[in-house]
């Protein structure tokens, strides 16, 4: 009973299409995490920034009747929330974990509250299809057997994510700016004394992580779900955090980790026909993670100054 269904599921385009979509949803905040941590600021608030992105995206789209405006608003909302994290952790030198937790809790409470106040508890209705982020039309490519469904019937944000992934990998490891970011994350004193502005780089990186998380929120709410639900991010920001670590703080590594998570998530949905308890199936992505961690990923080393506020003149 199990194996025939398993084989059918594993070879179906549905599964792989869903895997890639789930992976992209995780990858955006994960890339945000990579860039923030590389600059030396621990950011565990991608979840909250993503959730704000979801809410603002939907509300602004409904108000402006333009999904593009909604998308931009979502990205900016994520960025602004990240700016708060930046001020708290870079300027005020507060504990970055606490700041992150506060932002996550605040984002959850705030979106819930506004959602209820605004709709009188009715909840936001589904968005009309012209107010959603569309699936990109690749013409004949989409008709290819299997590959067409998996690669060429994805949401427009999916392709944007791939571009950002490649771009970020290039930025971090092939450009002068990337060199500075890594330097600031490893040894801010060294970067500062070499004439690099630690503050500027850290702010830019933290805000970038918020922009990416906001984009992820828009993808989820405006592209995948087509509405806003309370706590609809459901821990994706945290899984992304795990992907950052498993991916050894590199964009490509994080992408690999997100693929494994995505596959696990998709499998846990699709394998429900096999009669395996659904609660058990829900643990699959995490079990896959642990296996991957033991088998594939060696020790991961965080940037040396990750999470440590920079004090100029503390050189001694």
């Amino acid at each position: 009973m199990f194996w025939p269904i398993f084989l059918r599921v594993i070879t179906s385009g549905d599964l792989w299409q869903a895997s890639l979509q789930f992976a992209a949803l995780l990858l955006l905040p994960a890339l945000g995490g990579v860039i923030s941590e590389r600059s030396g600021v621990v950011n565990i608030a991608m979840e909250g920034m993503m959730l704000i992105g979801c809410y603002v995206g939907v509300v602004v789209t409904l108000a402006s009747h333009s999904v593009l405006v909604g998308l931009l608003a979502a990205i900016i909302a994520g960025g602004l929330l990240a700016l708060v994290h930046g001020v708290v952790s870079i300027h005020l030198k507060a504990d970055q974990i606490i700041s992150g937790i506060a932002i996550n809790v605040a984002a959850l409470g705030l979106t819930n509250y506004l959602n209820i106040v605004q709709t009188g508890g009715q909840g936001i209705p589904s968005l009309a299809s012209n107010l959603r982020l569309p699936v990109l039309n690749w013409g004949p490519l989409a008709q290819l057997p299997f590959l067409g469904q998996v690669l060429f019937q994805q949401n427009v944000v999916f392709y944007v994510t791939i571009i950002i992934l490649v771009g970020l990998q290039f930025l971090l490891f092939r450009t002068n700016l990337g060199l500075r970011i890594r330097a600031v994350g490893e040894h801010p004193q060294a970067a500062d004394t070499a004439g690099v502005s630690v503050r500027l780089i850290r702010y830019a990186c933290v805000v970038a992580s918020g922009l990416l998380s906001g984009l992820a929120g828009a993808f989820l709410a405006l592209g995948v779900a087509g509405t806003f639900n309370s706590n609809m991010t459901a821990g994706r920001g945290f899984i992304a955090l795990a992907a950052v670590v498993f991916g050894k703080y590199t964009p490509l590594g994080a992408a690999g980790a997100c693929l494994i998570f995505g596959l696990g998530l998709a499998l846990s949905v699709r394998l429900q026909d096999t009669g395996i308890d659904s609660n058990l199936l829900a643990t699959l992505p995490y079990i896959l993670t642990i296996i991957a961690l033991i088998g594939l990923v060696g020790r991961t080393v965080a940037p040396a100054a990750d999470g440590v506020p920079y004090e100029p003149g503390s050189a001694e």
Partner: protein, 548 residues
Amino acid sequence: MHEQEKAPLAQAASPDLAASPYAVEMRDICKAWPGVVANDHVNLRVRRGEIHALVGENGAGKTTLMNILYGLVRPDSGEIYINGERVHISGPRDAIRLHIGMVHQHFMLIPPLTVAENIVLGQEPGGPLAVYDRRRARELVLQLSARYGLPIDPDTRIEKLSVGLQQRVEILKALYRAADILILDEPTGVLTPQETYELFDVLRALSRQGKTVIFITHKLREVLDLTDRVTVLRRGRNVGELVTRETNQAEIARLMVGREVLLRVEKRPARPGPVVLRVENLHASSDRGLEALQGVSFEVHAGEILGIAGVEGNGQSELVEVLSGMRRATAGRVTVTHASGQQTGKTYDITSMNAREVRLVGVAHIPEDRRGSGLVLSDTIESNTILGRERWPRFAWARFILRLGEVAQWARRLVREFDVRTPSTRLPVRALSGGNQQKVIVAREFAADPQLLIAAQPTRGVDIGAIEFIHRRLVEQRDAGKAILLVSAELDEIRSLSDRIAVMYEGRIVDIVTPEASEEELGLLMTGGRPSGASREEEAQTTGDSGA
């Protein structure tokens, strides 16, 4: 980028160059930290092209003054003139623009990045948004390295370089940023004698090329060997501006400490008792899995100081770690025999004991890495004075609940007896100067009344006053019948304290000699040479011209 567009201020001032003979003039600099006045109306005048020593004990305000000059610390008041021009330096970027470069005591290098990446960082060819041009960066570094005669491989990662080479990268970094004024903060503290001489040659060459060098140190011999003029600070104030040629060690030392200092250790001949430490055919591996100890054997008697001399990295660190229970021996035997007290005559085999057990049988240990393994920096002086002895009935009920009153009293006593300068024993050890941190360790280890005391680099990075103090205490302990194993990279220290000197080279003790052995003889042994060895001239250089 905007930094590059602005004309460097120092160049703008060039018409006035003749107006001031000083490359750097700092006037009335004041800087107070909460509870400490680091700089109290300090003046510093450095002539263009000279090598200027800035000396003073730890905590005298040397580093603060230089951090102000480099823009890392903002002064509360005071004026800075570069080439006669009044300037405001509000960050390292300003300092770089004024052609000031600084080599920090703790290197500002990023270990996982390459030499070239570290050097060009912040001023990469092409500006911040360009693709990193590895070939061009490499070329620039090679050009620079050829121009100043400082060979380096641009593609090596910093973490793979020796400390001496890392320092070279730091100097190249400053030169890459077109530094005309080069500040070096205690650059020789981490160098071997050979590396120190190489550094001096480099600095002399730079000075000949018109660079101005400010050299922070508290090693008087270096001041006399290298510099043209000296500024002495004590407790945040100027106490002297001297011409090196016209002064001597004793005068500088007196100015630094504020009283006459005994540069020589006074001690009576040793009266050795029975053997306390016996090491037989000891073998051990280094962290990298190489054979660091290859059959080391020696004995230390009660009432004597055995000095271990050698260029660093020849197994001394591993030897100390094995003896103190921090590293496993792969072969051999180590025993400790009590020479006094209730257990006189009792012998313990400590070969495979851990650090706690080793301490329990009467071994005290002053580790070479004060910050890493000697102290818990963020913890209070009180806690640090009972570290490793916190289960003693004296300090804990049922070995478990600390008797805080007792601990506080103990800490106050040690602080008084060992002259640790601190307003309170509740301060974190981090807040103390290096010398006072070391005194906390020395106090803790001496107070344990050990049979054997292992002192590894006991005065590294410590100021003259504290060195004198620690040396005197070591001799006192010897005279009280303790066995002392002294490991030091400072040949002077080894020679003045030891009753016998064992020279280590490549994991072996090559010879055990008396302290009367000449520096040349010791130098030869340290570099693996035999008195009949080939290149005498080179060996003589390693051992130094201290006799002069």
